[in-house]
């Protein structure tokens, strides 16, 4: 198992390296100008040129890349050109917001998606059809629209939950839960539908296999067959879907954060793009890629626990 994890970790690190390297050169190719972005439209060319020199943008691109990479490996992601703040500080402050949303949404999606998927699979007929329609609807609804409606109904009209803002978990756990409840619901609707649909199909497929009939003929209870045998074999595709949904939740969080005025990684990324703040964009990208690698690793480990043959692959 340790060798398997090490292999997956190594491939994840290579992936992260390739993605951030590609993005660095891509940003350079777009002609982004962090100096102009930081100083604004009305700064003179002289001021912009001075800032370019301060930021080291006059150096060869390869030298800039090596400078960024060597510092990043030591945990120094540089300074935000627009905000004059260490990028690492910016990300560490904002990451808990986005991670709260993405992880919360994935947990809710995994729980409810699995429940609905299994219920649909074992209750064919009207119940399954009704759930199918609901799932398609949940999948089709844009999460920003759901977020706006949730805020309107539960915050503005009913005043049950706050319309905007975020309270840190360490400051007030219940307050934290109140501020992330609506964003998590908005972010998880699509994922619930996707996971439920995937698990339903897998469970139905597994149920139709010969060994399940054999288990039934041996007199095993339906509950035992479902929990011990069917779900074990039906879960891998749903786990893959779960990791994909985590990536979707990370990107979807950027929009949801705006609706609820949450200052997470998404808002940092949007502001950085507007200001051509390359250091921040790279920092956000690195953090996001590492998170995705971590989630994929967890999924791979679970996958291999369910199916030991995977470790040999």
């Amino acid at each position: 198992m340790i060798a398997f994890i090490a292999r997956r970790l190594a491939s994840g690190i290579v992936l992260a390296f390739v993605v951030v390297t590609g993005m660095f050169f891509f940003l350079k190719l777009t002609g982004s100008d962090p100096a102009r972005g930081a100083l604004g439209l009305y700064a003179t060319e002289d001021q912009v040129e001075t800032r370019r020199l301060q930021l080291g943008l006059d150096r060869p691109v390869l030298e800039q890349y090596w400078d960024w990479l060597s510092h990043a490996l030591r945990g120094d992601l540089g300074m935000s050109s627009a905000q004059n703040t260490p990028v690492i500080d910016l990300l560490v402050t904002r990451l808990p917001v986005t991670v709260s949303l993405a992880v919360g949404a994935i947990l809710v999606a995994a729980l409810l998606g699995s429940l609905l998927g299994v219920l649909a699979a074992i209750n064919p007929g009207r119940f399954d059809r009704a759930l199918q329609v609901t799932m398609v609807l949940g999948f089709a609804l844009p999460n920003f629209w759901v977020a706006i409606i949730l805020a309107l109904v539960f915050a503005v009209k009913l005043r049950w939950l706050p319309a905007t803002g975020y309270i840190h978990l360490t400051d007030d756990p219940l307050g934290w839960l109140r501020t992330i409840t609506l964003p998590i619901i908005a972010l998880s609707i699509g994922s619930i539908a996707a996971i439920a649909q995937q698990l339903r199909n897998s469970v139905i497929t597994v149920y139709s296999q010969d060994y399940v009939r054999t288990l039934r003929s041996r007199g095993l209870s339906s509950r035992s067959i479902l929990l011990t045998h069917v779900l074990r074999n039906a879960s891998p595709p749903a786990l893959t879907m779960l990791s994909l949904q985590f990536i979707a939740a990370m990107s979807g969080a950027a929009i949801i954060e705006r609706v609820f005025a949450l200052q997470g990684i998404g808002s940092v990324a949007i502001n950085a793009s507007g200001n051509s703040d390359i250091q921040v964009i790279m920092g956000v990208l690195l953090f996001t890629v590492l998170l995705v690698v971590l989630v994929n690793l967890i999924v791979d480990v679970l996958y291999s626990a369910l199916n030991p043959k995977v470790r040999a692959a």
Binding site: G40, Y42, A82, L152, L174
Partner: protein, 508 residues
């Protein structure tokens, strides 16, 4: 089954705890408690250094910390503040300021002539909104501790206004020397930043300064400014009592009134087309004044105002602020909707078969207006080729300003000289093709040398010339919309994106 009931009961109990423990509605103010003002602002204070701050709604952050030398009244007239008196010499090249005595910064440094000199010199080096006006000051001469003389490179009609905002915001000279203003603001203003209760990009809390010289004008004990980039989120925050004031949009007015909020308006930005290739170097058609006039005749401003802007504004052929010296009501009758006249003018100019006009625009708030303008122009034979940009970064600004024409929302200012600098000089950002003519050139030389009625007449002559020569095709001067809760009273201020903090008070 029992398990299901138990689980259901647990979920219901959890939901009740979650939703019932705290109400988001504002709690009733105790009569003896501190009075708090919470503002939702469009922007974020990414720096506290007035030399780096850019114009816009963030002026409220600056006003909390820094006192300006002069200040603007609600109708945008200039009056004394830290400088009680301000006098120009005869040829308008020297401005003498008389300063208040006994004022201190929040680090106990004294405010005096040395402090004014240090601030203005620092502003010259910055890249903020104050930089341009600061550079028009050649030297700050200290006459005595309470008198400074600003020697100008040339007369500058925008100087007094600049001294009432970012150029005039006074920071502690010690903080300027230390280079710490960007993160640790020190001013002589009504509030000090409470860093313990503030979280960058989320909420900034300010405490009233004890012994502040003009405390009556700032009656709130604490001030909180929360940056909100999203209009819907900002409105939700206002309607649930999380904030008390915001800059709104036209589509919010009806809902806000139904929600019991106060809706106020002030003439604000103009929207329309800048036809900047007036020499016809890229698009020869725009070099002919008849074509530019035809574009103005082709637009049905009344209908667009009613249907697109919900009537919130006024039709306009002018690019100046309605309360400025340059504005003339009658000029708005210059181009009534007349497509036949437009086609006649195009035919006279040799474009009876029409032509194709690239129009740059910034995606977002301009996106719905572009097809409306395109449709009106197509009715007289002009085919618009939209050239969208997604923000000014990453080459967007260069793409926009390289088009022969473009559409944007433009601020209108008092004094009108700010609009001159933005759009009318050969080096203005929004006159990228550098076009001018003898009349404009002459008037721009004369205006700075005059004051009062004489200056007003010249501004109006300039405005009339621009409208007749159709440098622009404005559609409306729209109303800026402000929403506030019923527990505060806000006096609207002309020609400023958001009202100054001293125009906020508890509702009587």
């Amino acid at each position: 089954m029992r398990k299901i009931y138990t689980m259901g009961a647990v979920l219901v109990a959890g939901a009740l705890v979650l939703t019932g423990c705290a109400s988001t509605a504002p709690e009733a103010e105790e009569e003896t408690g501190p009075i708090e003002l919470v503002i939702g602002n469009n922007g974020d204070a990414i720096t506290w250094d007035p030399a780096e701050m850019k114009e816009g709604a963030i002026i409220q952050y600056a006003e909390a910390i820094y006192d300006p030398l002069l200040r603007k009244t609600a109708d945008a007239q200039i009056e004394g503040n830290l400088a009680t008196d301000f006098v120009y010499n005869d040829d308008l090249t020297e401005l003498t300021l008389t300063l208040q005595e006994g004022i201190t910064f929040s680090d106990d440094e004294p405010f005096n002539a040395e402090a004014v000199k240090a601030n203005i010199e620092a502003r010259k080096l910055g890249a903020g909104s104050a930089s341009e006006a600061a550079k028009s000051i050649e030297e700050v001469v200290i006459v005595d501790d309470t008198t400074v003389e600003l020697d100008l490179v040339a007369p500058n009609p925008g100087l007094l206004s600049a001294l009432a905002t970012y150029l005039g915001f006074m920071a502690s000279p010690a903080a300027i020397d230390a280079g710490t203003l960007g993160t640790d603001p020190v001013g002589s203003g009504p509030y000090v930043l409470n860093t313990a209760d503030s979280e960058p990009a989320v909420s900034y809390s300010f405490d009233a300064r004890e012994g502040y010289w003009n405390a009556e004008a700032f009656p709130f004990d604490t001030l909180v400014i929360k940056p909100y980039t999203d209009f819907t989120a900002r409105y939700n925050a206002l309607s649930t009592g999380q904030i008390q004031f915001m800059y709104g949009t036209a589509d919010m007015v009806e809902t806000a009134e139904a929600d019991g909020l106060t809706v106020q308006t002030v003439p604000g930005e103009w929207q329309g087309v800048i036809m900047q290739d007036r020499a016809g170097s890229v698009l020869p058609a725009l070099g002919d004044v008849r074509v530019r006039q035809a574009i103005n005749y082709a637009l049905d401003r009344e209908t667009i105002l009613d249907t697109y802007y919900n009537g919130l504004g006024q039709i306009s052929t002018q690019t100046f602020n309605p309360a400025s010296a340059a504005w003339i009501d009658e000029l708005n009758e210059e181009y009534p909707y007349d497509p036949e006249k437009a086609m006649e003018l195009l035919a006279d100019a040799g474009y009876e078969d029409g032509f194709t006009m690239p129009v740059g625009y910034s995606e977002g708030f301009m996106t719905p207006l572009v097809p409306i303008v395109s449709q009106y122009l197509s009715e007289v034979g002009i085919t618009v080729t939209p050239v969208p940009i997604n923000g000014f970064a990453n080459g967007g600004l260069e793409t926009l300003t390289s088009q022969p024409s473009f559409m944007l929302s433009f601020s209108t200012n008092i004094p009108a000289w700010t609009d001159v600098l933005n759009k009318l000089t050969p080096t203005s950002l929004w006159n990228h093709f550098g076009y001018t003519d003898d009349t404009v050139e002459g008037l721009l030389e004369e205006i700075p040398l005059t004051q009062g009625d004489e200056q007003k007449a010249l501004y109006q002559e300039l405005n009339t010339h621009l409208v007749e020569e159709a440098w622009f095709a404005p559609i409306v001067t729209q109303q800026n919309i402000y929403l506030s809760s019923s527990d505060i009273a806000v006096t609207m201020q002309q020609a400023q994106l958001v009202p100054s903090l001293r125009f906020f008070a508890p509702a009587s």
